[in-house]
């Protein structure tokens, strides 16, 4: 029997949820606020909350010093490109593992995930040498490959979980109706797994957008995304918080907007199975 929630319980839960929500959101709010302060106000103690001289000079300086749109365009290409390439491999891989498992499937899945446990810096030099020899340093293609391979285990795992919930009978029925393997995947499996695929894609875009190790180490200028843009505003000597905040605000703005509009899809995909 479902336990009915009391009004007090509802209010307490709401207050708690709001507190957690605000705590999580506070750093972003503070970053945006700092981006409108002067450098001196950004580091003043105690910090001023609203009552300071609001200024756009940091945004102007960031615009003057860096070509934001070049970095943003690279971020979009890398995030979307690596996601699309990853999806092709992840869907086929997850299909095989979900519907045609062998006794080694579980081990293979765990092994794939274990590759995420290795610190990336451990393979920096070999990958750097491969990139150098193949002429892939500072190219979007090279980075798309790295990002796609880096996120592939997570994509396969997520899709495998969704596919597992799709009854095999439906696919078998399609086969009996004469569907070939590509048709079975494209016209039967994928439409049923849309929420799962959408959330996998969104998560992958976010992961690729925020990736800062490989994007900093394998690029110089042509393929440098927004992570490199942000990194250029941190300074060892001199005040930089306000300018760094302005650069960071500009860098997270697109992904924040995408996340905001697609949050329903993302949450549904992450919390519900494929077939209800």
């Amino acid at each position: 029997m479902e336990k009915k929630q009391t009004p007090l319980g509802y209010v307490s839960f709401s207050v708690f949820a709001w507190i957690v929500g605000l705590l999580i959101f506070f750093p972003i709010f503070w970053m945006v606020l700092t981006s409108f302060k002067s450098e001196l106000e950004a580091v003043s103690i105690p910090p001023s909350f609203i009552s300071f001289d609001w200024t756009l000079e940091n945004y102007a300086e960031v615009q003057e010093r860096s070509n934001y749109f070049k970095f943003a365009m690279n971020s979009v290409i890398l995030a979307v490109g690596s996601t699309l390439v990853g999806l092709v491999f992840a869907v086929t891989c997850a299909w095989a593992m979900a519907f045609n498992p062998t006794k080694r499937t579980k081990d293979a899945l765990l092994w794939m995930l274990s590759t995420k446990m290795m610190p990336p810096v451990g393979v920096l030099v070999p990958i750097y040498l491969m990139f150098r020899d193949w002429g892939l340093l500072d190219t979007r293609f090279g980075l798309i490959m790295v990002l796609f391979l880096m996120n592939l285990p997570i994509m396969v795992w997520m899709l495998y979980t969704y596919f597992k919930e799709i009854p095999t009978d439906i696919l078998e029925a399609a086969r009996m109706d004469g569907a070939t393997l590509p048709k079975e995947i494209i016209f039967v499996l994928l439409p049923m797994a849309v929420p799962g695929i959408a959330s996998t894609m969104l998560l992958n875009v976010i992961l690729a957008w925020n990736e800062a190790f490989w994007t900093l180490n394998l690029t110089t200028s042509d393929a440098a995304p927004l992570t490199a843009f942000i990194a250029s505003y941190s300074s060892p000597e001199g005040l930089f918080w306000a300018k760094l905040s302005a650069a960071s605000t500009l860098a997270v703005a697109p992904i924040l907007v995408i996340g905001w509009f697609s949050q329903k899809q993302l949450v549904r995909g992450l919390t519900f199975g494929a077939v209800k």
Binding site: S38, E39, L40, V43, S44, I45, R65, L124, V125, Y128, L129, R132, L137, D138, L216, N217, T220, S221, A224, A228, A231, S232, Y233, S234, S235, P236, E237, G238, L239, F240
Partner: protein
Amino acid sequence: MKRVMGAALCALLAGGIAHANAETKLTIATVNNGDMIRMQKLTDDFTSKNPDISLEWVTLEENTLRQRVTTDIATKGGQYDVMTIGTYEVPIWAEKGWLAPLDNLGSDYDVDDLMPAIRSAVSNDGNLYAAPFYGESSMMMYRTDLFEEAGIEINGRLTWDQTLEIAKKLHKPDEGVYGICLRGKAGWGENMALISTMGNAYGARWFDEEWKPTFDGDAWKDALEMYTNILGNYGPPGATSNGFNENLSLFNSGKCGMWIDATVAASFVTNPKESKVADKVGFTEAPCAVTCTGANWLWAWNLGIPMGSQKVEAAQKFISWATSKAYLELVASKEGWANVPPGTRMSLYENPKYLEAAPFADETLLAIDSADPINSTLEPKPYVGVQFAAIPEFQGIGTTVGQQFSAALAGQMSVEQALSAAQSSTDRTMRKAGYY
């Protein structure tokens, strides 16, 4: 049709080749600080004089830059044509043959005008392997109003014991003023830069002549006891998190009676746009103890060319422009003499316009002149560097020792325990590396 396409292709190729001939693109890796950003803004002056060369800037945070350029130069990746490197890297990389010698900087470059200490720090076997863009030492910045209020006068160079007494007098945490601000954040370029100079002043050295660490000696004990006492008792709370920028913020907010750090900070603390105490700052040399040798550090950001670069000639042209006397005049004409990159050329400190615009010029010159990377300890040493030892292992050693000393400052271990841990960890690393 085929002919037309062939002709178009030839035209495209010819255009491409002509374009390639017309422009050499230099990729420059640089650190984000005021002087470097200013140089980026003045790029047009260089490109107008050298229309066949274009510049692509890659600005990075110091640690990221160090990791990026080290990976690139060690693997001969060839991603950068000009690299911004510190005085720590130059002798090591030059020794390994990773840097191209700067032997064609032009007849009007006036290499003899470079400050001797800085020039020596970026040379190897008499050859220049990087050109200094700006240089710094360390000195004390203090609040003249608080000194006056407390009746303190500075006569001659202070000792650390005298500095401790002054810190006691100035320390009024209830009024939001701490006696002294010093670096406490762990790292070879953070707390260890300062503590190494303190060690030098107390007669210590990183390694003896046989490359054995010397943390088990009395000199290091005296230095570390003074450091933990003065900063722990008369410094700001949470000092273990404070590096250059944190202390700069504290000093500019009027919360530090004294601050011993890089001479380059002088231009920040006297800038009314950044500092609340801009007109109340005095400067004096860093304190001594049993000796003044090595009591202040020496550092410079320099421009060097990796051996793998295919554009050495164009890169030398750029470096010559960026580190020349003419560049200093260019900055002065656009941004004023106070914004000229300091600490590299002697002629700058003979220029009355600069001396007038920069009230800290005399102390900066004094500090840089007195720092010698070769003779920086009371007893002889086998390494080059004042606040570091220019060996590849030092980054790891310095950071580990910095963590142990930071723990001593936080009270997590005693001074004796920190020194003992530093001795054993450094000894282990040096043995492994085959020094003895």
